[in-house]
């Protein structure tokens, strides 16, 4: 394994190492606080390690990995998400009865899995990444085992995930049977030369089922709400962002490799999925009273929007997708961050009722949450708008008017429930939430700082996105 190989995979190495390290720290019976800070540091290191691979992009590692600028960007995004989740975790878990320490190990592993997905260039690596991610998530979702909701969520996720993995694997097998190779590059070659073969299509179909489940797009979306609700808030945030990000990256890489956009069967399927997701997602959230479920449904819709940028298969697709993910991640974290801070030992702050009059009690938190909501709704001045703009241009640029129109109309429906959240926050005069904990001023401070940074980023991306767009337009994937 050459030095360059080593360097190029440095982030992954760091993450893997970090998980081990944290285990050792746990063995050393160090306090939650130490471990939290340590893992924070480790995330930072992992993130930093991205910097020194910038000039060597794109770089092929064996046949398994392809570290190109797009992959690097996604890794950065995922590690960043891990970092943010890590920050939010302390306050959330400190009060819980379970020992919070092992949590960090799993967090690292999941991040690792997502990152592996992002750069995988081969069925094996993709499969490995996916499973590292998924298996880790089983544990994370059910982490607070005393709460029966989290157990229920855990088992549901476990059975369904395994079930869909089986589809994925079977699909892979069929594709392999047809093409005789498991590396994307090889497949690309075969697909390009040979004419369309039945097994290949069916295999791809099966794979779509598996991946569709991970992305929680209609009709594989039903688990989302329950898992979002049952899982601990930081974990929910992680599922909403990192895990989906990794899968999207892998899917995009695979599609670009085998040029799946050209097969109108696949395109038809994708379009159907996209439209269904946009409509169903927004409708399901319409009168949802539980904000975690509401965000779950809105995430379904947003993945639908993402597909609008995905389907055209033009050169701008990677840019659009990565930019949209960036905005979506930022927004989601802002929202879940607020929820985390408002959550209590006994229960999460998930009932919308409890957010009444938040505006007058905690203007800062309420403000952040409203910005997040506006961003999710895609109102100008926020990142969400720029993201949606990018998506629409990508779609319309290739003349996918139907998708664009559906996006617009469904997001009007979406408007209603995002506004509902905000309205609740300034309706009424007394709030039902206890004061936020004054007990961990340090971590509360850190979390607030992160939140304000995120909010700032949201508005900055909304008002002056050019710098970031410039970065994104530099991305390409081999």
């Amino acid at each position: 394994m050459s030095n360059n190989d080593f360097n190029s995979l440095m982030p992954l190495m760091v993450l893997a190492g970090a998980s081990v390290l944290v285990m050792l720290l746990i063995v050393a019976r160090l306090s939650h606080r130490i471990i939290q800070l340590a893992s924070l540091l480790l995330f930072v290191i992992a993130f930093a390690s991205l910097l020194n691979i910038r000039e060597m992009l794109p770089y092929q590692v064996g046949s398994l990995f392809m570290v190109d600028s797009f992959g690097a960007f996604m890794i950065g995004l995922i590690i960043f998400s891990g970092l943010v989740v890590n920050v939010f975790s302390y306050i959330y878990f400190q009060e819980k009865e379970e020992g919070p320490r092992e949590y960090y190990v799993l967090l690292f592993l999941c991040t690792l899995g997502a990152c592996v997905l992002a750069v995988s260039n081969h069925f094996v690596s993709a499969f490995l990444g996916l499973e590292i991610l998924t298996v880790g998530l089983y544990a994370l979702i059910a982490y607070l085992r005393k709460r029966n909701h989290s157990i229920e969520a855990g088992i549901k996720y476990l059975v369904l995930a395994a079930f869909s993995s089986a589809f994925l694997l079977f699909g892979m097998a069929l594709v392999y049977l047809q093409t005789g190779t498991m590396s994307f590059a090889g497949m690309a070659h075969v697909v390009a030369t040979a004419n369309v073969q039945p097994f290949l299509l069916i295999g791809l179909g099966f794979m779509l089922v598996g991946l569709g489940f991970k992305l929680a797009v209609v009709p594989f979306h039903m688990w989302t709400a329950d898992v979002y609700q049952g899982a601990p808030v930081p974990v929910t945030a992680f599922i909403a962002t990192a895990s989906k990000g990794g899968v999207v990256a892998a899917l995009l890489r695979f599609f670009v490799a085998i040029d799946g956009f050209r097969s109108e069967q696949l395109q038809m399927v994708m379009i159907a999925i996209a439209i269904a997701s946009m409509i169903v997602g927004n409708l399901l959230a319409l009168r949802q009273k539980n904000i975690k479920r509401l965000l779950a449904y809105s995430s379904i819709a947003h993945l639908g929007y993402l597909l609008v940028a995905f389907i055209p298969g033009s050169a701008v697709v990677p840019q659009a997708v990565s930019f949209y993910l960036l905005t979506y991640f930022t927004t989601t974290f802002a929202a879940f961050g607020v929820i985390t801070i408002l959550s209590r030992a006994e229960s999460d702050a998930e009932e919308l009722e409890h957010y009444k009059a938040l505006f007058w009690k905690h203007p800062a938190l309420a403000g952040i949450l409203s910005v997040a909501m506006f961003s999710l709704a895609g109102i100008p001045l926020t990142a969400g708008f720029t993201g949606k703009f990018y998506v629409l241009t990508t779609g319309i640029g290739q003349g996918f008017w139907l998708l664009a129109v559906v996006l617009v109309l469904s997001s009007v429906v979406g408007l209603y429930y995002y506004l509902r959240v905000i309205t609740t926050m300034f309706a009424g005069t007394r709030d039902l939430l206890p004061e936020p904990p004054a007990r961990y001023p340090v971590f509360l401070g850190i979390s607030m700082v992160v939140l304000s940074v995120l909010t700032f980023a949201l508005i900055w991306l909304g008002i002056y996105p050019d710098a970031v767009i410039g970065v994104v337009q530099g991305l390409q994937l081999k």
């Binding site: 088992i155 549901k156 059975v159 369904l160 079930f163 869909s164 589809f167 299509l201 069916i202 791809l204 179909g205 099966f206 779509l208 089922v209 569709g212 489940f213 209609v218 009709p219 594989f220 039903m222 688990w223 709400a225 329950d226 109108e264 069967q265 696949l266 038809m268 399927v269 159907a272 169903v280 409708l283 399901l284 319409l286 009168r287 949802q288 429906v413």
Partner: protein, 631 residues
């Protein structure tokens, strides 16, 4: 010397009065209010005499005083200037407005003495005089329209002057709305004029009318009729006459000034002003004549049946204006204007006198409750009598005779005239005489029913006397062709209004005058017979069911109100009411409701059962494979 640079003073003085009273009137003493209110009009009258005198003295043929104050607005080829222009026609109107206006204002200073809103009254009156002056002095139709709407507003304000009474408010609203219908049509008329003539300046239109329009072409007829519609509204002619009787809700001086002397004749002025257009359309002129004739008959018969003295006068006003329209219709322009002036004198007089009576009878309007005032209120009696004989057109000794006789004569002999019109007019004369006599007798003779309060003071009686003099003697400035043939007035108007075109070979004028005189005397006799000599006969007539029904029908003003109520008002209100909560909104509430339903439906799929979710997955897989195998 040219006085045209002072022209603007005539309307400006009343306007100034209005501003003073409107802004600080509340804090002024009554004497001051009276001084400002009446004084402004008197001054304006004075200026009118000066300017008018200069105008007449230094008058070669067709001179016109014009004074452009500023450009109102100018867009593309359209331009409207604020320009006053004084010619003989407008001079007549300005004279009537300012002179009679001044008298009425003086009268009002006493009449409204007791009223709480003294200042508001005079403010509105001044504003009215201003608007009316703008109306008649305007050199273009748009500025005229400004005055036109302005007088409408003032009439609204003054009819509803005692606003606590809901009925007054409604009367005011009715007056404004009904006239507004005419105004809307008139506005369209202006658009047509501009589209065809490219200007709204009256003199230009007049000069080029024959070039712009084909005689008797459809366009000119439509244009003329649209303008006419405006006139019908303001002048309370068929079919827009219903507002005027209700307008009597206003104080009597208001009725005298606005609803007898000036505003209601604006229609006459408009048609006379635009005679060049009407001259080009036979049809339009015929319509004018017919409407005039019909109105004068209908209103006269209604006046016969009223018991409220002011309503009698109101209907008689409608009927008299009907005469003027008849005259205009047959092309006797000058006769119309002449009758306008005479009518302004005696009708203002009658209203003021009636006001005095009502005042001293504690706001009693019902003639049957009056009676026997002949000796108790001599001044009022004699002046009222002067007005009455003029209204009834008693031969030779009344101004009304000369003006009306002219119209009767032209209604046959002018080229637009016809025996039928003449017959109607003649019948009208008879009826007029009858109801006038009835009114006189009921009010002044017989024994009194109501105790009399204080008698009118000098400030009220003097105007009465002045007007009485005018309404008796003013007629002599225009004598029939066959005796005297003294045509000062019509000559005076000829620079603006053309000679009346006559038919050939018509019976001698004497005959007409004889018949007219007979009709008048006959009418007087009827009234005298039924209401003085044999009042019992009335009772016997009351027995006849048919007559009673006819009486009721006439009394209701030929049921026009009921008709409009059923045809227009109620349907409108009904539609408005049922649609109060906007039907179109249902569309959107429907959409949102639908999405709500879909939400319910979908949220059922989120049953929470794992096996259901798995089913979902499987179905999804089957669908995908299905799509792929289909394609």
């Amino acid at each position: 010397m040219l006085m045209d640079k002072y022209l603007w003073l005539i309307p400006a003085l009343p306007l100034g009065g209005f501003f003073i009273l409107a802004l600080i009137g509340k804090n002024m003493s009554r004497t001051w209010v009276a001084t400002v209110g009446a004084g402004s009009i008197c001054l304006s009258a004075l200026v009118t005499f000066v300017v008018g005198g200069a105008f007449l003295s230094g008058m070669p043929e067709n001179t016109v005083y014009t004074q452009t104050l500023w450009t109102w607005f100018e867009v593309g080829e359209f331009s409207a200037k604020i320009t006053l222009s004084l010619d003989v026609l407008s001079l007549v109107f300005v004279f009537v407005i300012t002179f009679i206006g001044a008298l009425i204002h003086i009268y009002s200073t006493a009449f409204m003495e007791a009223d709480r809103d003294y200042a508001r009254f005079f403010a509105s009156m001044n504003l009215f005089v201003f608007s009316m002056l703008v109306l008649v002095l305007a050199d273009n139709l748009l500025l005229m329209y400004l005055g036109w709407e302005g007088v409408g507003l003032c009439s609204y304000l003054l009819i509803g002057f005692w606003y606590e009474q809901p009925t007054n408010g409604n009367a005011a609203r009715k007056a404004f709305t009904v006239t507004r219908i005419g105004d809307a049509a008139m506005a369209i008329g202006l658009f047509m004029v501009f589209q065809q003539a490219g200007t709204l300046v009256v003199s230009d239109i007049g000069a080029n009318a024959s070039v712009i329009w084909q005689p008797n072409s459809a366009t000119v007829t439509i244009t003329a009729l649209l303008l006419l519609a405006g006139g019908l509204g303001k002048s309370a002619q068929l079919p827009l006459q219903t507002w005027l009787p209700d307008a009597m809700a206003g104080p009597s001086p208001v009725s005298a000034l606005i609803h007898a002397a000036t505003m209601v004749t604006a229609g006459v002025y408009l048609v006379a002003r635009m005679h060049t257009i009407f001259a080009l359309s036979e049809t339009a002129r015929l319509v004018v004549a017919i409407i005039g004739a019909a109105t004068l008959l209908l209103a006269g018969l209604t006046a016969l049946t009223q018991y409220d003295i002011k309503r009698v006068l109101a209907y008689s006003t409608i009927s008299q204006i009907g005469y003027m329209f008849l005259a205009l219709g047959v092309g006797a322009w000058t006769a119309a204007v002449f009758h306008f002036m005479i009518h302004a004198f005696f009708k203002a007089l009658l209203f003021l006198a009636a006001g005095a009576i009502i005042e001293s009878l504690h706001h009693e309007h019902n003639m049957f409750k009056m009676g026997g005032l002949k000796d108790k209120m001599p001044v009022v009696f004699w002046t009222f009598l002067a007005g009455a004989i003029s209204l009834a057109a008693v031969p030779l000794i009344s101004a009304g005779f000369y003006s009306k006789d002219q119209i009767l004569w032209y209604s046959w002999s002018a080229d637009g005239g016809s025996p039928v019109l003449w017959a109607v007019a003649l019948a009208g004369a008879l009826i007029t005489a009858t109801y006038t006599t009835r009114m006189m007798i009921l009010t002044f003779w017989g024994e009194s029913h109501t105790h009399i309060g204080h008698l009118p003071g000098k400030r009220m009686t003097v105007p009465l006397v002045v007007l009485a003099v005018f309404s008796v003697f003013a007629g002599f400035i225009e004598l029939p062709h066959n005796f005297g043939h003294f045509t000062l007035f019509s000559d005076f108007l000829h620079p603006v209004l053309p000679e009346t075109a006559m038919q050939e070979n018509i019976p001698s004028e004497w005959l007409f005058q004889l018949l007219a005189a007979l009709a008048t005397l006959g009418g007087i006799f009827l009234g005298y017979y039924y209401y003085y000599q044999q009042p019992a006969r009335i009772a016997s007539l009351r027995q006849n069911g048919l007559l009673v029904r006819l009486y009721r029908f006439w009394f209701s003003g030929w049921a026009f109100d009921a008709l409009y109520d059923r045809m227009l008002v109620r349907p409108f209100v009904f539609i408005a009411r049922i649609n109060k909560s906007d039907i179109t909104d249902k569309l959107y509430t429907g959409i949102s409701g639908m999405t709500g339903e879909m939400y319910k439906l979908l949220s059922r799929t989120q049953s929470g059962s794992l096996r259901w979710y798995i089913m979902g997955l499987v179905v999804g897989a089957i669908l995908i494979l299905g799509i792929q195998i289909m394609l």
